[in-house]
C-alpha cells in the first residue's frame, strides 16, 4: 500500500511491551480516581460542598487535584519509561530515526 508505514523509520524498541504495561496500569489508577469524582458527584453531590482546607471545598480540591495528578503521573511515567529505554535499547533509548546507510562506503 502506497501510503502506509511510519512517517520516519524508527529503531527497534525493546522497551515497548514494558512501557505499554506500565501505561495501562497508570491509566487504570487515574481512571479509578477520575471515576471516583464522577461517582461522588452523581450519587452524593452534597459531599462536594464539604470544606477541606484553606476554605476550599471537595469539588475544587478534587477537580484541581485531578489536573495536577495528571501532570505528576505523566512525569513519573516519562521517568520510568526513559530509564527502561536506556536500559534495554542502549543510551538515548535507541529509538532515534535510523539514518540511511551510505552503501558505497560499505562496499569499499
Amino acid at each position: 500500500m502506497a501510503g502506509h508505514g511510519p512517517a520516519v523509520k524508527l529503531g527497534k524498541d525493546n522497551a515497548s511491551e514494558w512501557k505499554s504495561k506500565l501505561g495501562i496500569k497508570l491509566f487504570f489508577v487515574y481512571g479509578i480516581i477520575y471515576a471516583g469524582f464522577v461517582v461522588i458527584t452523581t450519587i452524593e453531590p452534597e459531599w462536594m460542598s464539604i470544606n477541606l482546607f484553606w476554605g476550599l471545598n471537595l469539588a475544587v480540591v478534587y477537580g484541581m487535584g485531578l489536573i495536577i495528578l495528571a501532570i505528576v503521573m505523566g512525569l513519573v511515567y516519562n521517568y520510568f519509561c526513559t530509564k527502561k529505554e536506556d536500559e534495554l535499547n542502549g543510551p538515548g533509548g535507541g529509538m532515534a530515526p535510523i539514518e540511511t546507510k551510505d552503501e558505497t562506503k560499505e562496499i569499499k
Binding site: 502506509h4 512517517a7 505499554s20 491509566f27 471545598n57 484541581m64 495536577i68 495528571a70 532515534a96
Partner: protein, 712 residues
Amino acid sequence: MNYTPSPIAIGVFLAFVGFVLGLSFYFARKAKSAEGYFAAGGSIPWWLNGVAFAGDYLSAASFLGICGMIAVAGFDGFLYSIGYLAGWVVALFVVAEPMKRLGKYTFADALDSKFNSKGIQLAAAISTLVVSIFYLIPQMVGAGSLVTPLLGWDQWMGVVLVGIVVVVIVATAGMTSTTYVQFLKGGLLIIFSVLLCICIFKAGLNMTVFEDSQKLKRELGFGDIAGVIVKDDVVTIPGDSGFKKAGTFKHFVRLEKEGRYSWWMLKKDGKVNTLIQIPSVTKLKKETKCKFTAYNHNPKVAKKEKEQELSTLELFNGYPKAANHFYQVSHLSKIVYKGKVLKAGAGTGSLGPFEFLKVLKDSEVTIFKKVALKAWTGRKGNDFDRNIESITVWKPTPTAGVLVMRPGLKFKVDPVHKKDKNGNVIIGADNKPVIDNNKTLWEKLNFVSLMLALFFGTSALPHVLIRYYTVPSQRDARKSTIVAITAIGFFYILTLFMGLGAMSNGVIDLTDTNMSAPLVAASAKVGGVLLFSIISAIAFATVLGTVSGLIVAASGAVAHDIMDNYMGLNLTDANKVKAGKIAALITGVIAIGLGIVFKGVNVSFLVGWAFAVAASANLPAIMMLLFWKKTTAKGITASILVGMIAAIAILAISPKMAEMYYGWWGVNFDAPFDLNNPGIISIPLSFITLVIVSLMTQKDNDKLDPEKVAAI
C-alpha cells in the same frame, strides 16, 4: 452591549493576524513534499511540539467556551476543564507511542496498519472528516463572537474572515506552519491568561453592578417599578409609570410603552411587590421597521446619537441590536468576607487565588437563567404578536456561592423537583418538594455521559492524533505529550478564575456567553481596552491555529486515506498535496456555513459534542486494536460507523437541538428523552459492535501478515 470598536483593538488585531500570516508564508517554503505538508516531515522538536499540542488543544472551546460556561454555570463549566485534561491521560498512557509507531500521516494508517482494509480506510477517513467538522463548528462560532467587539463587525463576517485566513494558511504551508503558529499562540495564551488572572485577583470582589449597564437602564427608564398590586394572580401596574401591561407568562410580565415591549419579573418582598426589568430577545418571522436612538456606551465620546430607522428580525429588550440597549449582567448580591457580611457597594480589595475562591463560595451571586417562552409562540394577539418567532428571557436568580462552587447548576446532579405548569415546585403530602425521579435520572446520565466522552474523546481527536507524526520518535511523542499536559493543565486551572471573574464583575453578554473572558479583560475594574485587545487577538489566533490543525487533518483524510489509499489513485506527492489543499478549501467553506448557523451556542458545549462523536467513533477501534488480538478489520469498520452514526442520531433528537430548532424556526420539537450527551450510549455501543462483528469474522484474521500483527 459595549461593542464599540477602538483603534487600539483594531491595531492589535491586525498586527496579530498579519504576523500569523507572515509566519505561514515563511514556512510555506519548507513544505514541498506530502510528508512535509501533512506531518511536518516528522522533524519538529518534542518541546516545541508539546507547546504546539497545547496550542492545538487550547482552542476557542477552552478559552472562550469554558470561561463562558463557568461565568454562567459556576463549577459545572470547570467540569469541562477537568474532563478535557483527564483525556490526555488516555492519550499519554495508552495511545501516544503506538500511534507514533504504527502511523504515517493519519490515524487511519495506524488503524489499518495490520489489515490493509478498504473498509477501515473509508470509515476512518469519514469519521476524521465528521469529527473535524464537529470540532470546527465551535471554533468558527467563537471566531464570530470575537470580531463583534473587536472590529464592530457582525458575527457572520468574523466566521468568513477566519475561514478565509485559515484556508490561506493551510493552502500555503500545511503542518509546519500550523505547528509554529500553534506554538506561538499556545505560549501567548498562557502568559496573558496569567496576567488576566492577576488583574482579577487585584480587583478582588465587590457588589457594584456593571456601571455601564446601570447607566443604560437609568437612561432608558428601566428602573424597578414598585407598588405593583397583585390580586388573584392579576398584576396591576401603577398609573404613573407610563407602562401598560401587555400579557403575563409564569412569573413574567410583558409591559408596553410607546409601542415597544419589554419583559419584567415580579419580585415579592414582604408586602411590597416590585417589577424588575429582565433581558429579553424576541425573534420575528418577518422584518419589522424600528425607530430608535442608539445608546452611546463610550463616555469619552460625548456625541449625541441621531434617531434612525432600520428593519430587523431580532429585538433586544425591544430594540434592534444597533441601538445598544442590551446590557451586560451577573454580579455579587452578597459578600461574606472574613466572617462579616459586607455593606452594599463595598468590596474586598485584592485577594489571593484561594481566598478569591473561598469568598465567592461564602457569598451570593445573582446569575441569569435562560427561559424560552415557548407558549408565547403562535399566539393570536395583535400584529406584533402574530409576527413573533420566539421569545427568550433571562431570569435574575440570587444563588448561594456554595452552589456555584460545586457541580449542579447546569448538570442537575441533585434531585430535580416536580413543577406545575406555572413553574412552581409541587409540595407533597409530607410537606417536602416532590422529586421527579425520571428527570433526575436523565440529568445524572447526562453528566456521566459528558464526563465519559471528555475522558475518552481527547485521544480520538484527529488533529491531536496527527500531531504524533510530526516528531522524530516515540520518546519524543511521549515527551511532547507531557509538555502538553503540563501547559494545558496549568491553563485549565486559570479558566476557573477567569470564568468566576466574569461572573462576579457583571460583564456577561447573555446572547453570547463565549465572550465572558475577553469582556472581563475589557472591564475597567479588571483590565482595560489594551488587555482586552491583546487577549482577543490571541483568542482569535487560537481559533486560527486550531482550525488550521483540523483542516490539515480533514484534508489528510481526503487526499491520503480516501483518494490515495481507498480509491487506489496512487497520487504523486505533488498531486497529494494539491488534493489536500482542495479538500482544505471545501472543508473551510462547510465550516463557515455551520459557524454562522450555530451562532450564540456555548462553544464548549459544542466541543463536548465533537468529543462524544470522536470517542464513540474512534476510541473503541484504537483501544481494541492495541489490546484485543481478536479484533478484525470488519469489527473496526463496523464500530467506527455505528459509534459515529449513533452519536449523531442521539444529538439530532436531543433537548438541546430541540431548543435550537425552536430558536431557528420556532418549531416546538419534543425530544424523546432528556439526553444531550450521547457518549453513555454510543461509546459502549461502538465497543459491543466491534466485539460482536470481530467474533463473527475471525476467519479474516487467518490471512494477516504475521510481521504486521507482531508490530502492534
